[in-house]
Every structure is written in C-alpha cells, then in structure tokens.
Assembly symmetry: C2
C-alpha cells in the first residue's frame, strides 16, 4: 500500500503514513496541489518554514505504461506567489512510485547554514548531512553517484536553488544519470534551498519491487494499445524522436507566432540556423557521444531527448527543448545552436529555468545592457548566476524582477512567470491559457496551439478572438489530468486525435486500481485539480487582475499578422469558472 512520506527538516525525522481519505484517488499534480492547498496557508512566505515542498509520482507512475514516470513537484511559488506544480521527466518519478511513495512532503526548514540530503530506499528514508553543498548539479550528481554507486536516481538543486532565487529549478537525473531534466518553472528550487535540502537520493530496489495491479492482464493489454497509439501518431511516434520538441520551431515561425527579439516580432530572420532538423543533422554529423531518439526516463517511447555533442563529439547536454531554443534563440536574436546547447547545459548545471532566465536576458538586451544576438555576452551573464553576483542574482530571479530592476515596460510575464515560446497575439488560444492558468504563463498548461496551428484536436483560427476561451478551458483541463496521471505532456497530441489512446489510459487506471472510471471522469479529474489551484490562488490574494496578459500585447501589433491580443476580459474571466 502506497504511503505518504513526511520529512521534517527541523527535527530530522522521516515518517511514513497511510493516505488520508481526502487525498485518495489523486497522484502527480492533483496530489501536490491538493496537499499544498490543504496544508499550506496561502499567505505564507514561500521561502519560510511554513511552506511545504511536495513530490508526487502520477497515478500511473511506476507501472509499465509508456511515458508514465513524470514526477510532480508542488508548493507555494516564490515566483508567482500562487500555487505551483512543475513536473519533470527523468528517473526519480518511477523510482519513487516503485518504492510505494505516493507523495514525499518536505516540511519546515533545516538548521541554518547546513545542507542535508535525504536518502530513500526499500529500507526507509533517512536525512543526513550533505557533502555536495556549494556545487552545481553536474558535479553534485557525479559525487553523489560515486558515493551511492550506480542505479540510484537523484533530485538536486544547483547554486541558484541554494541562493533561493525565484527562477531556480529542481534537477532530476535522466536515463544516463545526468541532471538534465528539471522541474524548472516557478522557483521550486528556491523552496528546496530554503528548506536546507540539497539532494534526494533514491535507491529503487529490485525488479521484483513491482506495484500490485488490480487486474494485470487488462493492464498489459491496455498498455500495449496505448503504446501502439503513441507510436502510430506522426508527432508522438516520429517527429519527436527525430527532431525533439524543437520540431515546432519551423511551424511556429511559419505561423508568425515565434516571439522574436523580446516579443517585438512573430517571425525569426534565420529559421535555418535553429531547428529540430538542424539538431538531428548536427548530432548525426558530429557523432561521438551524440544521440538521436533518446528517452529521458524508463518506459519512454516518444524519445524526444537526444544528446547533443560538441564539435569533438563530446556531450554538451541533452537536446535543447523548443522553449529553450526559442528563449536563447529568436527571442534574443541568437542564431548559433552550439550557444543554445551551452546555455541549456549552463542552466541545467546552475539549476535555473531556461525560459524565465532567457526571457530575462532578452529584457536586458532591450534595456541596452547587452546587444541582441550577443551569444557570448549572454552566456557570460548567465554564468554569473552561479557566482552570485548582483547581475547573476537578478537574472536568476527571472524576467519579472529583471524587468523591474531595469525599469522595463515590455516584460512578457503573467503572475510573475515568463511567457514561453508562443506569441499570444498570433496564437490566441495559447494567450488565453497564459493569462488564466493558475500556474502563471506556462508552456505545459494546455496545448491550445495544437488546434490553433497544427489542426490537432480541433481547428480554431489562431488570429480570431472567438472560440479561444473554450479551447483554452478544454486544453487546460486535459493538461491538468495528464499531469495528474504522471504522463509526459506530449501524449496529448495522441489524445487530441486518437480516442483509443485515451480509452487505453482509462483502462489502465481501472486495471491498476480496480476502479470503474469512464473517459469523462478524466475531465472531471482535471477540472477538480484546476478548481483546487484557482481556490488557493484566490486565498493567496490573486484576482482576475492577475489573469491578464501584459498591456503591450493589447497595445502593440505584432508582425507578420499585425495582430494584437483582443480576447475580451469577460472571456478570460469565464475560462476557469466551474460554478458549483
């Protein structure tokens, strides 16, 4: 029977408890948000001892279901001051689920000036002094791996998290044992830092340690159908593995929706320099440690996470994701893929969100501190985060703080969190999601762009204000459900088009837990999660005024469509109104 593991950083005690009724039937984001909403006073200081940091595998975590190993992390966000869930691939999610940990709840704060690490294994959990304080993620994980031997997975923070910077991420090790997957958004790394927790080491135990399934045969059958549905889908089964998530660069540029030079244009002049195709091509040409079609976690069949090699074939880091390539590419007018890969590596190492920090760099450029396109200058500035210089701390605090410090007006953020790689004036369904999602502007909060641009799961004119509220509501509900199951967000593409994919997932849930859930219940689940989050935010003092895009999106036209964001406020206000 899965348990909740509570770790009191102040007393040093770790205790397992049964799952109370109120949290039953939840996992992943649904569970982190439920725990945060119920146990954290919405008015606490996010960096104070009364905040909690919650880790939860999804409902399908630890099973043979494809792409089910995401790990949700939740807490009150120091970036948005609202509720936050940020999830990550890598191995820890599956490992924790395999160990029967439904949720790991970090409470209170450890002794000042000391770093602790938490070791979780089949024998239980123990908190102990940590010797890798002061190190960034790559070196910290290398040392921990030396100590613990192979087979474990690691959750760590870099120096940004130690500094409690508002854009600090939490790193999780991938299939290769590298800290390249991150719960990056919303500054949860700063919350982990504020607790004095530097690292979590998870020793997964043996293969035998399989979860009990209510109906193993039904599960296996459904699992196979799900895998097939993914593999048969052109995006999930082919383009992601060939080109990574960066496959989207060309599509969005073509659509005039690729924010360029700090959201001053929707089209990038040098599309050939940065793309999924170029990632693939360079990786193959350079060879060495480079790899195409690598998953980030056990059971991944979409395999978007390649390994990008330098000119000598040495691994720089994972394939930069679409949002990273955008942030350190078009939006900063940088055109060099190697610089993007170095940026990604640097952010993964320091432990910061590539989106918020990249957006902050773009604001610095618009403020004249750096030139647009100056990759070397930008990399030097980002490297300062780890050094703790004033400039580094500004950047590591994300775009909203950077904008404030530089007196900037054109700052693309909602609820303090940077807008990702979609111009809301040219993909208006996405704009509605950025405005209204309780997580702030978030790239995984709902793929309205699928229906706006890719004609997946509907076909809604991206430039019209009509129909976007409904589209956004639908995709936000879907995303909340996917995050609760622990599935990789990219399964959504199959969900939008292949009813069998969703049915297979429902069948797996029923076979796992002995439920009799129906397909519509999944939407109910997603809606319940969003309602919990919206309610927390309201108690934290956020109002509909927080559900608005920055003024310039309504005032400034963006090329090539000369469009502004013109979805009405009343449309925005009803997106997440669920009534009773």
């Amino acid at each position: 029977m899965a348990k909740i593991l509570r770790v009191d950083m102040s007393s040093g005690t770790c205790s397992y408890s049964d799952v109370p009724e109120i949290y039953k039937g939840l996992g992943g984001r649904g569970l982190t948000s439920a725990i945060v909403a119920r146990e954290v006073d919405p008015l606490v200081n996010p960096l104070g001892p009364r905040n909690k940091l919650v880790f939860a595998p999804g409902l399908l975590g630890g099973t043979a279901c494809a792409n089910s190993g995401r790990l949700s992390v939740g807490g009150k966000s120091p970036l948005t001051s609202g509720i936050k869930e940020s999830n990550s691939g890598g191995q820890p999610g599956g490992h924790l689920a395999g160990l029967g940990v439904l949720a790991l709840v970090i409470e209170n704060s450890g002794p000042k000036g000391e770093w602790l690490q938490l070791e979780i294994s089949r024998e239980g959990a123990v908190l102990m002094p940590c010797r890798v304080g002061g190190l960034n993620n790559y070196e910290a994980v290398a040392r921990l791996t030396e100590e613990s031997g192979p087979g474990s997975s690691y959750i760590t923070i870099g120096r940004a998290g130690e500094f409690r910077l508002a854009a600090a991420s939490i790193a999780m090790t991938d299939l290769d044992g590298q800290p390249a997957r991150h719960a990056a958004r919303g500054g949860l790394g700063a919350v982990m830092g504020s607790k004095g927790l530097k690292a979590i080491i998870i020793k997964p135990g043996t293969k035998k340690n399989r979860l009990t399934l209510a109906n193993p045969e039904a599960f296996n059958s459904a699992s196979k159908r799900f895998t097939k549905a993914l593999l048969d889908h052109p995006v999930c089964g082919r383009s992601l593995s060939e080109y990574g998530s960066a496959a989207m660069m060309g599509l969005f540029n073509e659509a005039g929706a690729l924010p360029t030079r700090n959201f001053s244009s929707g089209r990038f002049d040098s599309p050939e320099t940065l793309s999924g195709e170029r990632l693939n091509q360079l990786t193959k040409e350079r060879g060495g440690q480079g790899r195409v079609a690598r998953g980030c976690m056990t059971g991944c069949v979409m395999r978007c996470s390649g390994v990008f090699p330098d000119r000598l074939g040495q691994r720089i880091g994972k394939w930069p994701d679409y949002e990273t390539m955008w942030a350190f590419g078009p939006n900063t007018d940088i055109t060099d893929l190697d610089s993007v890969a170095q940026y990604d590596r640097l952010c993964d190492d320091t432990g910061v969100d590539t989106i918020d920090v990249g957006a902050a760099v773009a604001v610095l450029m618009e403020a004249g501190v750096l030139e647009f396109g100056d990759a070397a200058g930008a990399l030097e500035a980002v490297a300062q985060i780890s050094q703790g210089t004033p400039l580094g701390r500004i950047l590591g605090s994300g775009v909203a703080v950077t904008g404030k410090v530089y007196g900037a007006v054109r700052v693309a953020e909602v609820k303090g969190q940077a807008l990702p790689a979609f111009d809301p004036r040219s993909v208006k369904g996405q704009g509605v999601t950025f405005a209204t999602n309780p997580q702030g502007a978030d790239h995984t909060a709902g793929f309205s762009y699928a229906a706006n641009i890719l004609a997946l799961g509907g076909d809604v004119d991206p430039l019209s204000p009509e129909g976007q509220a409904e589209l956004s509501r639908r995709t936000q509900i879907s995303a909340a459900a996917v995050d609760t199951l622990g599935l990789c967000m990219f399964v959504s593409f199959a969900f939008f088009e292949t009813p069998e994919a969703i049915e297979a997932v429902v069948d797996m849930l029923n076979a796992r837990y002995g439920w009799s859930m129906k397909r519509a219940d999944l939407d109910g689940l997603g809606q319940r999660v969003l309602a919990t989050e919206v309610d927390f935010n309201q108690r934290a003092g956020l109002t509909s005024a927080s559900d608005r895009l920055p003024e310039f999106f309504r005032q400034e036209e963006v090329g090539p469509h000369r469009s502004t964001f013109d979805v009405t406020d009343s449309d925005l206000d009803r997106v997440l109104e669920f009534g009773e």
Copy 2:
C-alpha cells in the same frame, strides 16, 4: 479661477482647462487620487504611457495659512502596483497654487531617449528640450538655476528616476533653493522618468499674484489662530524646530519600538550617537553653514528642517529626518551621524527614497553582503544607484525587490513598500496602519503612534491588540484630510490636542472658498479620499491579502517586550470599510 494644466508629453502640448464638477472641492492628495482613480486604468503598467503623473497643491495651498505649501504627487505606483500619493514640502507647492494651477497632469510619454523640461509661469506653460539629462538633482538644479535666475522653484528627478527605478523620488527645491525635499515614497520618480520629464521650472510671478479669498478678514483671523495653536504646542512649536523630526529617536527607543538590525530588535544599543539632540548640538558646534530651526517652505512655523554642516562648516544637506536617521542608523546598526547625513544627501541627489533604500541596505546586511554597521560599505553601495550598476539598480528598486533577489525571508514591507521606523509589534496601532493603508507601509499615513506612545490624541496601550483598528482608522482619516489640505503632516500633533487648531483650519477653508464646512466634514473628506484609493486598489487586483504584515511579525517575538503582532485579520479587514 484655478485651472487644471494638462501636459501631453507625446504631442508636446500644454493646455489649461476649467475644473470639472467631479473634482471640485478637492485639492492635494484628494485631487491627485480622484484624478488617478478616474482617469487611469488600474491595470496599466505604471511605467507605460497610459499612467498619469498628477501634481496638486492642497486646498489651502498658496494662502498665508501656516505650513500649507505641501505638493501632492499621484499616479499608479511602480513600487506598490496600487494608487500612490506622496507629498513634499519645498517651494513648488505654494508657487503652483499661486499661479492658479489646481492640478498639473502629465500624460503619455515623450520621445524615447530625449529629456524634456516644463516651464510654468504667469505667461503659461511650455515644454522644451532639457539640457540637464543625466545629472543628479543637485547639479541639475544648480544648472537650471543659472539658466532661469533666482526666484524660481524646481521639481526634478535624479538618475534613479531616469533609470525608472521603483524607489525613485521626485525632488523639490526648498527655501534655500536646494533639491532636499522629496515626494519620495512609491517610485513616482520612475513614473516621471518614464514620461521623459526631467524637470519642472516654476516661475512664481509677483507678490500681487495673491489668490482671491472669499472672506479675507475671516481668513486672516483664522490663520493667526492656527499659527498660535501651532506655536503654543510643545511639539509643533518647540521640539521640531530644536531637534527636527529626529526628536522622536529617543522616545521610540525608550518604548522598545525602534526597529534595529533589520527589525530583529526594538531597541538600539547606541541611542546617544543618533538623536535630534545630537543634530542640534553638532550643528551649533560646527557653525558655518549649519542652521537650526529652518523651514523647508514659505510660511512654515514649525521649522524642523535644519541645515547640517560637516566638520568644516560646509552644508552636507538638510537635517536628516527621523525615518532617514533610523534607516541608516539603528536598522543598519550604523552609529555615525555624519554618515547618516551623507546618506541623506546621496539619496536626495540620486533621487531615491531614504526609507526603502535604507531598508534594502539592511536586507543586504542580513544576507551577509555587507556587515551590519559598515557605514562606508553601505554608502559605496548606495552610490552605485547613480552609476546604474546591477547592485545599484537592485537597491534603487527598494526593499521588496532586494529581498527577492537575495532570497531573503525577513523583508519588512507591505504592498511592496518598506516599513518605516516603527516596529509594528511594539506600536500596534502603527502596525495596523502599515498593513491596511492603501499607500502601502507609509510613515505619513496616520500617526497612531501618537496615542500609542506619546499619549497625544488618546492613550491606547501600544502592546495590546485591542483598540488599534479604531485608532488606526481615525488617524488614517485625519492624515488623508491633512494631505488634501496641503498641510504639513506635523500639524497633526496640534490637531490631536487642540480643538482650536482644527476649527481655525475649517474657518480658513470657509473663508477661502465661501464654504460652510463644519469640523466633522473634514473627517468626511478624509474618508472619501481613502475610499477612492481603496477602490482603485481593488480594481488593480489588490485584496485583503495585501493588507497584511509580513509573516515574521506574527511569528517572531521582538525585544524588549517579547511581543508579536497579534491584531486579528478581521480587525484589519474592517479598518477601512466605509459601508456605502
């Protein structure tokens, strides 16, 4: 007949118009808040062209009434994101009123990268290129004075305002022609900077240019009674001129309410080093340009603003006010009065709020970037504001941003604005005002400490949670009325104790405008102003969650009384509830 002068920074036009009915009967804070609430969308970016910057002399401005020359400045605040009124002594308020300008409204933004100046005289108003861009206040005013000749007064921003930093102030020249009086709180200097307006030059015209009074004889009689009431009062008539506002240092230290080392104690170890008595003594000993008992504006009879000389007798700046001496004294553990005076001069020159920047320095010290008590290091850091370094920009953005950038938890601010020199745990009425006032934590928002500590205008136990809500409500209403009249806040001490002082003021209003106002109507006026401000803030997205002190004031006891802030939330929520 007084007019509203509107200046369109974008087109360069200046136009005078009659006062619409809706604004009649208002002046000072009442008028700036009414104009901002009516004409500014609460959701605009405070640094964007749709914000407005409003200057308004008070209802008694330009008359012979003692201490009536304050000038209110209003707008949406880049510091609090709510409505802001900040008023200043100096000559511009009286001059503008004398020229028949009821309100000056700066609209839109000027051409990018250019600085403009506005000249207002009896001949009208004209916008022209400004040659003092890039200079700080002292040098800017010296050059403008050379150009315009003596007799004019000046409103300027320093480099902090040019940089649009959120703690930037607006400087006003005093009786000596020095830019030593500031509308300092809430970052209105950044709003002026965002408009491209570097300076306002006011040529007051001749003595003949007196305002028409409905009943000159009644006015003169009431004016004399008011002056007498002030001069007869021990605080207004004696201690302020002898010791400046710093007279309060000893009293609050004695009461255990003087925040020390970033609000970690309520009592300062070296009270003898920093006090009004020492200001007086050193000023007299050093002689030279030093002066005791100097007013900051024509008609001041309380004369709290001395001139502080260095060891050679050269003017450093005005006498540091109580809050400045606290911010760069006990709260940073600095014990050297000359350093405080240099800090005050530096802030006046750069154009930043001494309270918010001083609070930011204390947070830097707690974060270990500087040592507590390191006056030289702190002065160097503050000097960086004018240089535009990353650290300088952080400090110039105020305590909330500084706290965020340094991952600090103990950050004493409400609505983004730094708490001034009163520990809310030991002067709880003051704490209620800091929590609930629509301006954020503000030292002039209502003198609850008078009844809490000085037994003026009541006697409410400062350590009990009882009765503080009522006390705060009363003093906030009184302060809003005083700010609307254009009176110096220090007249409040006389108001609390001397009914004749209030009656004289009501008589002056009636004699000035031909009204038949009663004493109770003054409260109605204050209440109306607050209601307007609360309503704006609600539309801007602020809720009761913004009307709370930082968590640590409830969690951490402060010595010597071992008290926490324990006024209930429901008490806080009803302070400014005005029903209809």
